[in-house]
């Protein structure tokens, strides 16, 4: 089992196979692809946040020289189809309506028409000639507006799923209300010596991937479709595009480009169905690329939230009761991560009595997409802020308070099942022992600590491992490599077959060239696709053993595999071990090509926990704050390539710092986004930050042969509260509304 296993390759830091192409500019991303005769698409977007589309006149656009096709919502079928992608089922009707509005524009930037022309400029100019008559409606921009009596309703047919309150109105913007309950809440709070209750808000923020969405589609007259696109899941692009357009998935081939960041935002389809339909109309390939403005206004940021959190504790720090209400903006269609937030919100702690309710609420903003541990950061911002305040009021060390209540193996998660081996206590102990925790602070500095939790997904993956006659190998998977997963997969093949990492070539194949794979997301690629890779390598290894038996003319039971060689057991002891190269050289003579395959439906498991320590320094005259020291500690199960695990932790921490300090969607009252660019949507830059120190804790995940856990999402969960708690330490003010931008901090300080 993993605990005893010693590794030769796992845990080392080889150079990634796709690295050279990426440092030399040779790697091809979404917008780097061209085809002969290719047209350029442009999307006309609604200037209104909420408007009924009365009519669309495309005649002037169609008459423009160079224009080859114009489409509107009429060209995208309305569908009730669903796509079961392992994760929450995707409703294809709303996804199609989001890609191109049918009856209503539901947010500023909602696509209402698209043009394909011989140049991007002609396409843009023609799009501007399309005359859309709108009946402008009152926009609903916040959860409070959406829930207010008499609120404008976005979708007339929306009914609240889950467990609506008994007195809830029938006509509503609430798409889902769910509850998690345990114990006796009233008795729990009655037994508490201290109760802290506060309401927290976090703004809508964007994943901020640097590469805009881009694709090229070619529709053949025989109905065969080719799509090149930048995506976290090309099988999803295939199935979603086919489903939306009512074409057979087998007729669609999707080739993934390199992907320039996603963080959950490159899971839905936006451009692909439009490019396919434009290509079908124009009989030529069509390229579509979003501008940064489009990305901000019309891709899928994550929910702005309001969370009311109430926790009761005994004097000794035992948490006895918690109640929470989570209100998450879904954007224009149902589907915020409120439910996941509810499951995460007290997941690190054993609280016997709780009641958590979560609301998924539609508003006139872009439909949210996943963003790294979707739902968890905002929920745990509330929990971890309140817990920090409880520790402060009880005069307890905040890590000791957490340790006292930390969940461990055998405890029931708030969402039901019992935890297997989890590393929360080990992470907290390591945090407490870290020199950072005890280091002195300078003037105007404060220190905060916070925990984070994420489930980590499993889902479907396929891999093949093929040997070449020279003993080198290829490993083929179907998950776009968003941050170094190719090299991790090659390392797993090396580990199983005993051949150097440089002799394993990892490839991400298109939808025709490998079995089905769920998306790159949910922190699942190294874990679940890794399991498929290990299975495939072991399959190849078993075949190598069988070939050795054939060469030695012994029964296969007389052959074992050890350190990259087939070795003889009893009954074949006079034979010399055979290396991979020796066996591969005899492939033809012993039965032909050696191809190992692995396909798994991996359970979702191996939850990840992390803590962050943040030191912040505040300029009390300007409200400007600066993170001066930062440490991230995480249970990673088993780090396959530690550098890329550290990179996940550092990158997630910094995204969380940006969320905490600066990032926010700013809308005016009419629902127009006022900061749709990187100058005004302020993401962290190199000079804002210190080094991000990392501590990797390895509590093996029993579900994975090496003990791997997902590592990509947890890192973004702790920073929101870690930063806010540090700010409380530095200023004496408890901040409940993010971001902690200089004006907000200054206002709070002047009021204090």
């Amino acid at each position: 089992m993993s605990a005893e296993r010693t590794f030769e390759y796992i845990g080392t830091r080889p150079i990634r196979h796709d690295g050279l192409d990426k440092v030399t500019g040779r790697a091809n991303y979404g917008a780097d692809f061209t085809l002969p005769g290719m047209l350029h698409g442009h999307v006309l977007r609604s200037p209104h946040a909420h408007a009924r589309i009365v009519s669309i006149d495309t005649s002037a656009a169609e008459a423009t020289p160079g224009v080859k096709a114009v489409i509107t919502g009429k060209d995208i079928p309305k569908t009730n189809a669903k796509l079961s992608l392992g994760e929450a089922a995707m409703e294809l009707g709303p996804m199609g309506d989001n890609a191109l509005a049918h009856d209503k524009a539901l947010y500023e930037g909602h696509a209402v028409a698209a043009v394909a022309a011989t140049s991007p400029e002609i396409a843009r100019e023609a799009a501007e000639k399309i005359v859309v008559v709108y009946e402008v409606l009152k926009p609903v921009m916040t959860v409070d507006q959406a829930l207010a009596p008499g609120a404008t309703i976005l979708h007339d047919d929306l009914v609240t799923k889950g467990k609506p309150l008994a007195d809830a109105p029938k006509h509503t913007n609430v798409a889902l209300r769910m509850e998690l309950k345990r114990g006796d809440l009233e008795a729990g709070f009655a037994a508490a010596d201290l109760i802290v209750e506060r309401t927290f808000t976090t703004p809508m923020v964007h994943q901020g991937y640097i590469e805009p969405h881009a694709c090229v589609a070619r529709y053949g007259e025989d109905g065969q479709v080719l799509v090149w696109t930048t995506t976290q899941g090309h099988f999803i692009v295939r199935d979603a595009s086919a489903g939306i357009l009512g074409i057979d998935a087998a007729k669609v081939k999707v080739v993934p480009s390199e992907i320039g960041g996603g963080f959950g935002g490159k899971i839905p389809v936006y451009l692909e169905p439009l490019a396919i339909v434009l290509s079908r109309k124009a009989h030529r390939p069509v390229k579509m690329v979003m501008s940064r403005d489009d990305v901000f206004r019309a891709s899928g940021p994550t929910s702005g939230t309001k969370v009311r959190m109430k926790i009761g504790a005994k004097k000794d720090g035992t948490l006895v009761a918690a109640s929470a209400s989570l209100y998450y903006e879904a954007g224009a269609y149902p589907g915020s991560p409120a439910g996941a937030g509810a499951m995460c919100v007290i997941a690190p702690y054993t609280i016997p009595n709780f009641m958590i309710e979560a609301y998924d609420i539609v508003v006139n903003r872009p439909k949210v997409a996943a963003y790294r541990a979707p739902g968890s950061p905002a929920a745990m911002f509330a929990t971890e802020s309140v817990i920090d305040e409880i520790a402060q009021k009880l005069g307890m060390d905040p890590i000791d308070l957490r340790l006292k209540n930390a969940a461990q193996e055998g405890d029931s998660a708030p969402y039901g099942p019992k935890y297997g081996p989890i590393g929360l206590k080990q992470v907290l102990e390591a945090t407490k022992a870290h020199p950072h925790w005890k280091a002195p602070l300078g003037p105007n500095q404060g220190r905060g600590v916070a925990c984070g939790f994420w489930f980590n997904a499993g889902l479907n993956s396929t891999a093949t491992v093929s040997l070449s006659a020279d003993g080198s190998a290829t490993v083929v998977t179907g998950n776009p490599d968003i941050g170094g997963t190719r090299v991790a997969q090659a390392m797993m093949v090396s580990e199983e077959l005993g051949i150097p990492v440089e002799r394993v070539r990892p490839t991400v194949a298109d939808t025709d060239s490998i079995g089905y794979n769920d998306l790159t997301g949910g922190s699942r690629v190294c874990y679940a696709t890794g399991m498929a890779v290990i299975k495939a390598a072991q399959d190849a290894r078993d075949q190598l053993c069988a070939r050795a038996a054939k060469i030695w003319d012994v029964d296969p039971s007389c052959v074992a595999w050890e350190r990259g060689r087939a070795i003889p057991l009893n009954g074949a002891s006079d034979k010399e071990p055979l290396t991979v190269s020796a066996l591969a050289a005899k492939m033809t003579a012993t039965g032909g090509p050696i191809v190992g395959r692995g396909a798994v439906s991996a359970p979702m498991a191996g939850p990840g926990f992390a803590t962050n320590i943040c030191d912040i320094e505040v300029d009390k005259e300007t409200g400007v704050s600066r993170v001066v020291r930062y440490t991230a500690i995480q249970d990673v199960g088993k780090a396959v390539h530690p550098s890329y695990v550290e990179g996940q932790m550092q990158g997630g921490a910094v995204q969380g710092i940006g969320w905490a300090l600066n990032e926010e969607y700013i809308y005016d009252e009419a629902g127009h986004l006022e900061n749709a660019g990187f100058l005004d949507y302020r993401m962290p830059v190199a000079s804002d930050l210190p080094m991000i120190d990392t501590v990797l804790i390895e509590v093996a995940n029993p579900l994975h042969p090496y003990g791997v856990r997902g590592v990509g999402e947890v890192p973004i969960v702790p920073p929101l509260a870690a930063v806010a708690n540090a700010m409380a330490g530095a200023t004496g003010v408890r901040f409940t509304d993010l971001p902690l931008s200089p004006p907000r901090v200054l206002k709070a300080l002047s009021g204090a």
Binding site: A88, A373, P374, G416, F455
Partner: protein
């Protein structure tokens, strides 16, 4: 024998019953037993994942149940 636990949110559909122990070989038969007993549960659990002995599965229909398996319905989650 496997025991299925209904979260507080699901007990509205089970008439307040919090758990049910049944003698079935696999998750598939368990689901049949549960929805026969509580027809109103069919809708809410259709969109949920199933945790068997702590591990969460999307579609564990043919998973064999152990002597003392514990089953929970949990909301499905998406990942970034």
């Amino acid at each position: 024998m496997a025991t299925i636990y209904f979260s507080a949110a699901l007990t509205d559909f089970t008439g307040g019953i919090e758990s049910l122990t049944v003698d079935v070989p696999r998750v598939r038969e368990l689901m049949q037993a549960v929805t026969e007993r509580f027809p109103d549960l069919a809708d809410p659990i259709e969109i949920m994942a199933i945790a068997v002995d702590g591990e969460v599965y999307q579609e564990p229909d043919y998973l064999k149940l152990g002597e003392n398996s514990e089953i929970h319905f949990v909301p499905r989650i998406a990942g970034g």
